[in-house]
């Protein structure tokens, strides 16, 4: 049992223990779950060193049998691709626990228990190497989010929760079929093994098989990303979820989709991915511009940020499907950036909501005067989100655009329009919320940040700056892994050439 296994067990055990805690002592529940999540975070930091010193390889690998027949294995491991996503998840969990400290007042125990269950599920997805195990964790991560939205959400929460659940389920059903097909074909659920068999020519998918399998996985992931036009569950889920739910949804859950694209679709179905890249990039770019345009006219802050996510995630998909080192690195980096900056935006919007009990932009104005620090944090986060240099998003967007320009210059041109539009809707929101005069009918005074809120925001801001000026702390591990994936994608094509001879 290595560090990674322990890290997986902690939230699961924390979840079970939380359920055993007395119901009438919310303070104990909060402190306990915060403690558990902090332990998970600290432990996860221990993963960095070994992974970075072993670039391009699986580290912390455990591979034991789970179910004998059909052969399903508990096969987990960590590499440069999953490392930062794991840490992003453990980093954000204590933060969202702190964010919910005051806001969640009913059914406190269940709420925090679900947050830990969610952490368990997403960590599992990021480290699973057995496709069936991957699928199990994928489904596990779905359930707590369903309840987080459905129980603690706003008015239309049931509709949003059901929509979210069913939409994702539709995708996972297809994925399950594809997984079973692959099992029948190869006799294993183990992904590294499958890749190995493919390299050695013992497992070959013909064009049609490759296409449909790719499509099944792609569809499941595209819903999660969400890629235009499969995105409409997102504004509803975000708009209705409590702050913690929105943050985890945007920062971590959406990344399950993009992670799946990079982890599964590219290496396993490289040929099909290549053949379908053009229309996928088309959808990604459409999403970038479309998401931004729709965000511009949203009167509701959370929905605005949700549509901005559609736009930002379009960048990630664009980067992935350029199949260039720069583009892929940028895409992975952008996943992390989006996790930090959009997470922070949702937290800040949540803070405004706790103060004035409205998500409508029109109900605000002049907040900058009464809460200067809150406004400062919001402006910094906004600037990060619109891709200002020296802050995190810039690096990711820049690399993605560079990758896109390498493939087709027009891709970069259209994506760059999205960058322009992002500053339009974000600054407009900032102006209407923080500048100007406070509407006279407003009764609730907007207080500035409390100590707890400082503790929530400062780590996020620090990360925005660090990831903006010191991308070299993070990128090499990612690059090494991406290089491997691109290498894997090349192989089948090379083989075909060899066969043709």
């Amino acid at each position: 049992m290595n560090l990674l296994d322990i890290l997986l067990i902690i939230p699961a055990a924390g979840f079970l223990l939380t359920l055993l805690l007395p119901k009438d002592n919310p303070a104990l529940v909060r402190n306990f779950t915060l403690f558990v999540s902090l332990i998970a975070f600290v432990l996860s930091l221990g993963l960095i060193g070994p992974v970075q010193s072993n670039p391009g390889h699986m580290t912390f690998e455990t591979n034991t049998q789970w179910i004998e027949y059909p052969s399903i294995r508990y096969h987990v491991g960590l590499d440069g691709l999953s490392l930062w996503l794991v840490i992003l998840s453990t980093f954000l969990t204590p933060i969202v626990i702190l964010v919910s400290w005051k806001y969640i007042q009913n059914r406190v125990k269940e709420f925090y228990a679900f947050l830990l269950a969610l952490l368990f599920g997403v960590l599992g997805v990021f480290v699973a190497l057995d496709l069936f195990l991957f699928f199990v964790f994928w489904e596990i991560s779905l359930v707590p989010m369903y309840f987080l939205v459905g129980i603690w959400g706003h008015d239309k929460r049931i509709y949003a929760a059901v929509k979210f659940f069913l939409y994702t389920m539709a995708g996972s059903a297809l994925m399950l079929i594809a997984i079973i097909y692959l099992y029948n074909k190869s006799g294993t659920f183990d992904m590294p093994l499958m890749l190995d068999m493919m390299q050695k020519g013992r497992l070959a998918l013909n064009g049609t098989e490759g296409f449909w399998l790719f499509l099944a996985f792609f569809f499941a992931f595209a819903i999660k990303v969400p890629l235009f036009p499969l995105h409409t569950w997102l504004p509803d889920a975000h708009g209705e979820a409590p702050t913690a739910g929105s943050v985890m949804l945007a920062s971590v859950l959406l990344k399950l989709g993009t992670y799946g694209l990079v982890r599964i679709c590219l290496p396993l179905f490289g040929e099909a991915a290549r053949q379908n890249a053009a229309w996928i990039i088309g959808l990604a770019i459409t999403g970038i511009i479309y998401g931004a345009l729709v965000a511009m006219v949203q009167p509701n802050m959370k929905r605005l940020v949700a549509y901005s996510s559609v736009s930002h995630l379009g960048f990630v998909v664009l980067g992935v499907f350029t199949f260039t080192q720069v583009g892929l690195d940028g895409a992975v980096y952008q996943m992390l950036n989006h996790g930090i900056s959009t997470g922070a935006l949702f937290i800040l919007v949540g803070m405004l909501y706790e103060r004035r009990h409205s998500l409508e932009i029109a109900d605000y104005g002049g907040v900058g005067t009464s809460a200067p620090w809150l406004s400062t944090m919001f402006v910094i986060t906004t600037l990060a989100s619109v891709g200002l240099p020296l802050l995190n998003n810039f690096v990711g967007e820049f690399l993605v655009l560079q990758g896109a320009a390498q493939v087709n210059f027009l891709y970069a041109v259209f994506a760059a329009i999205g960058v322009i539009l992002s500053s339009v809707y974000m600054l407009w929101m900032v102006q209407r919320t923080f500048y100007g005069e406070t509407p006279s009918e407003v009764k609730h005074h907007v207080n500035d940040l409390s100590a707890r809120e400082w503790a929530v925001l400062v780590p996020l801001i620090v990360m925005m700056v660090w990831m903006g000026i010191g991308s070299q702390s993070f990128l090499p591990a990612v690059s090494a892994q991406n290089a491997q994936i691109l290498e894997l994608m090349k192989k089948p094509a090379a083989k075909e050439v060899a066969n043709a001879r």
Partner: protein, 683 residues
């Protein structure tokens, strides 16, 4: 001390100042802030002087310092390059920036109260701006230049919107940021092309590749190179307020006046000119794009000047004047006279900063009034401001001996003597613009300082000369506006190391660019006959234009009564409303493309895309209803029917199933007999 290895400190010191202000400024006294922030810029200025002096003694005239790799995939480091071009820029930025900081301590002294967090926030932003501007000019690669490029845009946004409780200020800030971002998108794309073509973003490496034989006339990449240069130029039109992206600059006057001087006159807006000069190797290779640059520059120069003729807000006149002067600089870039562009940039920094700060002093004296129709007769009441602005106006009008004369005239001469087709038109447009410049500047002077005072009694009572902290910078800048041009005199005045000092200093940066130009175009600007007679005549013409402008302004605004002034007919409202370009842009892009498109898309999203999802759900429910019905009536019905029919069929059978063995035996027997009987009958 080796200043050359410390050049990275030049931007960092103001950054520390900014961080100190924004984190702890609230707790600092005004006098402490007034020492720290100008002090930080002053320290950078001192370091810059030290570094430039050491640079002068280097044989290769260039020095790089690389801190650490930033984006290794794009070969972009946190690296700094000091060469003649960046040395001029850092001296302008830190030197004039320092004076403006000092001035601001006086100008902003009334800014107080926790409500706007005024003083410390203002100086924090100002220092942050200097940091980004120095990063921009000291960067050794395009990516880091872009950091500064976006950063100055950000500071501009923050400072224009400094009085953020005013809606107009917030709007103007946002407009500046977004319009700049449009340009920035062009710049980013240009940068990608450049990387694609040359495999690097480092200035030295990019230039080396571009100057190598690979990019000779027969290399076949000209279309691509022209496009690259054009994209970079689009970036420059955003930052340097050229057609079509100039509209943000006049609105930027919502910011406090020192900001207008620092950002929107002396430094930030010249970033585009600097960037084009920095990319001279690229622009020299692409004559088509250079023509576009020159044409856009000339068009902007005369267009902005025409608007400036009729504006009544003192700062707006200066804003349009800035746009117009930047147009001059792009004419110089476009005709390949890069050093002249930098020359005009440098002289312009002095007199335009002076004019803006002077106008700030006027506004200060007028208790915040900016409308020149309500001024007049201020000559004797604020004499220092008047005298310094008088010098500045002479300098910008192009009166011989002052800074503006030399640089503007050199641009006109370079335009005229350029062998390219249309160069005479460029020159003619420039000459007209020069006359218009003299007119609107002196209109400003006459309306503000001469004649009768038109302000109300209350304001009149308050008029006072500004404090020393404001007037001393004015005087220093006035000195600069007189002398700054002397290091770039035309060769017809005589040739020696001092009179052409700037050209010689900058030569290493542009020389190789020139060589490329020779190779590419086959002939060079230099090759044009240096016809001294023509040069003298042209000089006389431009002096005449300047004097004519001044005298006409004097006639109209000093001699004629208000009722006697020519109305300008239909032209007046067109000019006064800035050719209605803002309205057009609002209609097309703001309300049309963005809000209209966004609204349409949102409707589409709600009704079509999400409608599809909800429709699917509805369909699913419908199908499930039908299934339910089917299940109840057909499937289950079938089952029930089966049961029913079995029951029904069993009915007669049941009749037989009595359970009596005897009856079964009887039936069995009867059956056997019947079968046997049947066989018997058949056979």
């Amino acid at each position: 001390m080796n200043f050359l290895d410390l050049i990275w400190l030049i931007p960092i010191i103001p950054l520390i100042g900014a961080a100190a202000m924004l984190l702890f400024g609230r707790k600092l006294s005004k006098s402490a802030i007034s020492i720290i922030c100008p002090g930080a810029v002053g320290a950078s200025f001192a370091l810059s002087i030290g570094a430039v002096m050491q640079l002068a003694s280097l044989p290769e005239k260039a020095h790089q310092v690389i801190l650490y790799p930033w984006l290794p995939l794009l070969k972009a480091d946190m690296g700094y390059l000091l060469d003649p071009l960046s040395s001029v820029m850092i001296l302008v930025v830190t030197g004039i920036g320092f004076l403006i900081h000092v001035y601001a301590t006086g100008y902003m002294a009334h800014e107080h109260g926790p409500r706007h967090g005024g003083f410390y926030r203002f100086f924090g932003y100002l220092n942050l701006f200097v940091f980004f501007m120095l990063t921009l000019v000291l960067a050794n690669n395009y990516a880091l230049l872009f950091v500064g490029w976006e950063g100055v845009g950000l500071c501009s946004y923050l400072l224009i919107g400094f009085y953020f409780h005013k809606k107009s200020a917030g709007d103007a800030g946002k407009k500046a940021f977004i319009v700049n971002r449009i340009g920035d998108a062009g710049f980013i794309l240009g940068m990608f092309f450049l990387f694609q073509l040359t495999g690097s973003l480092k200035f030295t490496e990019v230039n080396e590749v571009l100057r190598s034989a690979r990019f000779g006339p027969e290399a076949g990449v000209f279309g691509l190179l022209s496009l690259t240069a054009l994209l970079l130029f689009i970036g420059a039109t955003g930052k340097s307020a050229q057609i079509p992206l100039y509209t943000w600059l006049p609105d930027a006057m919502e910011g406090p006046t020192p900001v207008s001087a620092l950002i929107h006159a002396a430094t930030m807006v010249t970033a585009g000119v600097y960037m084009c000069a920095r990319s001279n190797a690229l622009f020299s290779l692409t004559p088509e794009t250079s023509h576009i640059v020159a044409a856009v520059g000339a068009a902007t120069a005369i267009f902005a000047a025409s608007i400036g003729l009729v504006q009544n807000d003192i700062k707006r006149v200066l804003a349009y004047s800035t746009v117009s002067q930047l147009g001059f600089m792009f004419v110089a870039v476009g005709v390949g006279a890069y050093w002249v562009a930098v020359f005009h940039l440098y002289t312009h920094a002095f007199f335009k900063a002076l004019l803006f700060l002077g106008s700030g002093s006027v506004i200060h004296a007028m208790s915040g009034e900016q409308d020149m129709r309500k001024m007049g007769g201020l000559k004797d009441k604020i004499p220092v401001t008047f005298r310094t602005m008088f010098i500045g106006s002479l300098a910008i009008a192009g009166i011989p001996g002052l800074a503006g004369f030399f640089s503007k005239d050199e641009i006109l001469w370079q335009a005229y003597s350029n062998p390219v087709l249309g160069s005479k038109i460029l020159w003619a447009v420039g000459l007209c613009t020069a006359a218009m410049t003299a007119f609107y500047m002196w209109r400003l002077m006459f309306m503000t300082f001469y004649g009768e005072g038109r302000m109300d009694e209350h304001t009149k009572h308050h008029i006072h000369e500004s404090p020393k902290s404001m007037t001393v910078p004015l005087m220093v800048l006035a000195g600069g506006s007189v002398c700054a041009g002397w290091i770039g005199m035309p060769k017809v005045f005589g040739e020696n190391g001092f009179m052409q000092a700037l050209e010689h200093w900058l030569a290493p940066v542009f020389e190789s660019g020139k060589e490329v130009a020779h190779a590419a175009a086959g002939h060079a600007a230099e090759a044009a006959h240096h016809d001294t007679t023509t040069e003298w005549v042209l000089m006389g013409l431009s002096i005449g234009a300047a004097l004519a402008g001044i005298l006409l302004a004097r006639h109209v605004y000093l001699r004629l009564k208000e009722s006697e002034r020519p109305s300008g007919g239909v032209l007046y409202p067109v000019l006064y409303n800035k050719w209605y370009v803002d309205e057009l842009y609002d209609f097309l892009f703001v309300n049309g493309l963005s809000l209209g498109g966004g609204g349409l898309m949102a409707k589409f999203d709600r009704e079509v895309v999400d409608g599809g999802v909800n429709g699917t759900a509805w369909m699913t429910r419908l199908i499930s209803r039908i299934s339910m019905w089917y299940d109840t009536w057909i499937v289950d019905g079938a089952v029930n029917l089966g049961a029913f029919s079995v029951r029904a069929m069993s009915y007669p059978v049941r009749f037989f199933q009595t359970g009596f063995i005897q009856s079964y035996a009887l039936v069995f027997l009867a059956g056997v007999l019947a079968i046997f009987g049947y066989y018997w009958w058949v056979h």
